[in-house]
């Protein structure tokens, strides 16, 4: 099986946009519980714009597509998630460089760069009940899979699975970053919306890779 191309990256954006649109209300509800309720709407706006941007196929490498996504998310999402996801995609694009295709280790490195970008911007640590709690296990799982010689699609499936588990594992936590941190103990029992959306994004990446 070949490495992931710019078409994979475009498919990722398309599937991510569809998934965010489908789960828009659900993400909004999670955010209403412990934040301000706009997370679904913010991401929907951003991925709709990103999809429009990448659709024409002008970007020839995965890195070029991801860079377009990054700048579009930064310009359209707003809130906390805009700069965080924007930085994630920017760092992912940098990691992808100008390669035409990405193999398993490259995909794992790209996810690690994305996670590092989020941490750099948001200064959250694992366990703070943020999207980092989805990305960190995802990065670890991807690294392990890539080290075991897995194909890119398998690396992403592992990452998505771990992100989903990480998102679920935010429920018992008290938040130390973002709006949910204002709630103290009252945030316990609720899933972090950014972790939930991160799991959706990584699932879309895996699906895009699996379908080719």
């Amino acid at each position: 099986m070949a490495g992931l191309t710019a078409d994979w990256a475009r498919d990722w954006v398309r599937l991510a946009a569809a998934s965010v649109a489908e789960h828009r209300a659900e993400l909004g509800a999670l955010d209403r519980d412990i934040g301000d309720g706009d997370h679904g709407e913010n991401l929907d706006r951003g991925f709709t714009a990103a999809l429009a941007k990448v659709q024409d196929g002008a970007a020839g490498t995965p890195g070029a597509v991801l860079r377009l996504v990054a700048t579009t998310l930064i310009s359209t999402v707003g809130g906390a998630a805009g700069p965080l996801y924007g930085t994630a995609f920017l760092k992912a694009a940098e990691a992808a460089g100008d390669a035409d295709t990405l193999d398993g280790p490259a995909v794992a490195a790209l996810l690690a760069a994305a996670r590092d970008g989020i941490v750099l911007r948001g200064r959250a640590e694992p366990g703070d009940k943020t999207m980092v709690d989805a990305w960190s296990p995802a990065v670890d799982a991807a690294a392990a899979a890539a080290a075991g010689g897995a194909e890119p699609a398998e690396v992403l499936r592992e990452a998505a699975r771990a992100a989903g588990e990480g998102a679920a594992a935010t429920e018992p936590l008290v938040a130390r970053k973002g709006r949910a941190s204002y709630l103290g103990e009252r945030a316990v029992g609720h899933r972090d919306p950014g972790a939930a959306s991160s799991a959706l994004l990584l699932a879309a990446a895996a699906e895009a890779a699996g379908s080719r």
């Binding site: 909004g28 209403r32 706009d38 930064i74 707003g78 906390a80 998630a81 970053k177 709006r179 204002y182």
Partner: protein
């Protein structure tokens, strides 16, 4: 949901058009991206002041653009931080060669988007300083958390830093004055009814007919405790005690007292809160040297109020009293 609006999607824009039509000589509203800019910006040689954040807090920040206060305000969607693009554009628009101060309420979204914009502006050669306002004592502060929220104290930072910039102070001085205000200002709020968020049409939290929520923010977040309604003196004590303990404010301090309405509470009730706060403070020999009462940092149509105290110095009094001409605050000209 019943509100006086066209469509939740055009609410912010329609409100800006109304503002622009009301104050043509004072400010202009730009469309792509959306900003409110002082009519005579950039003022050559003056430090430019930019603030912004989610909409729904009017007159904060758009109503404070004008002489002696902000040079530009960047209104995001309702309760959602603006993106870096309009913040950068605002920064460019008000850059008169003496640098630009970003006044940012401490919310992760605002902080991050202003941070990105400041980086981009600096890359273009504009000197940018950032002041984070985090006056809300309802939130536990710690170096490991997002920290306190910025609420109505922001109005005082904007007024006083604005006066310093207007009199010609340089960027470093204006930023230091603003940080001094942040260090000495504390706020806390109460809700009698939650705001109804236009997109969902739902109240952002539910309160029973006899309940109030102490320690609420300005984004429809619930607060830190829910208690049965009680007469105003009790409520005021629950707001002022943590404020005074926190700084702490002590006997013989000169303070500015701001009683701020949340959008759905009329002036008559705010005047009663002011009276109760004056009594509480005078019992503790804290001297109210300046007073502001009105709905300045709101949360859509939330019913309730916040109380803010700022420790005053002679310089702060002079800067507070200095002329200001904006849509929402005006004196001395």
């Amino acid at each position: 949901m019943k509100k006086l609006l066209r469509d939740p999607r055009t609410l912010v824009r329609d409100g800006l058009d109304g503002l622009a039509a009301t104050h043509p000589g004072l400010l202009r509203v730009e469309a792509g991206p959306e900003l409110v800019v002082r009519a005579d910006a950039p003022v050559r040689g003056k430090v430019g002041l930019v603030s912004g954040g989610g909409s729904g807090h009017e007159p904060l920040h758009t109503g404070f653009v004008g002489f002696g206060m902000l040079d530009a305000a960047v209104p995001g969607p309702v309760f959602t931080s603006p993106t870096p693009d309009p913040i950068l554009e605002a920064t460019r628009s008000v850059s008169g060669g003496a640098g630009v101060l970003h006044i940012v309420k401490n919310y992760t979204g605002d902080v991050l988007n202003f941070e990105v914009a400041a980086d981009l502006a600096r890359a273009e050669g504009i000197d940018v300083e950032t002041v984070l306002v985090d006056d809300d004592v309802a939130v536990q502060d710690s170096t490991h958390t997002a920290g306190r929220r910025g609420v109505a104290g922001t109005v005082l930072v904007e007024k006083i830093a604005g006066a310093a910039a207007e009199r010609g102070d340089d960027l470093e001085t204006v930023a230091a004055i603003a940080r001094g205000i942040v260090a000495d200002v504390r706020s806390m709020g109460v809700a009698l009814a939650a705001p109804v968020v236009p997109h969902s049409g739902l109240p952002s939290f539910d309160l029973a007919d006899d309940e109030i929520e102490i320690g609420i923010g300005i984004h429809g977040e619930p607060g830190r405790e829910r208690i049965p309604w009680e007469p105003v003196d009790g409520i005021v004590a629950r707001l002022l005690q943590p404020i005074v303990d926190d700084l702490p404010f002590t006997s013989l301090d000169d303070v500015l007292l701001l009683v701020n309405g949340m959008g759905g509470t009329p002036l008559l009730e705010l005047s009663v809160v002011l009276d109760a706060a004056n009594q509480w403070l005078s019992d503790r020999s804290i001297h109210v040297a300046r007073t502001l009462v009105g709905s300045y940092a709101t949360s859509l149509d939330m019913q309730g109020c916040s109380i803010t105290l700022l420790r005053l110095t002679d310089e702060r009094k002079a800067l507070w009293d200095a002329p200001v001409e904006t849509a929402a605050l005006r004196w001395g000209r």
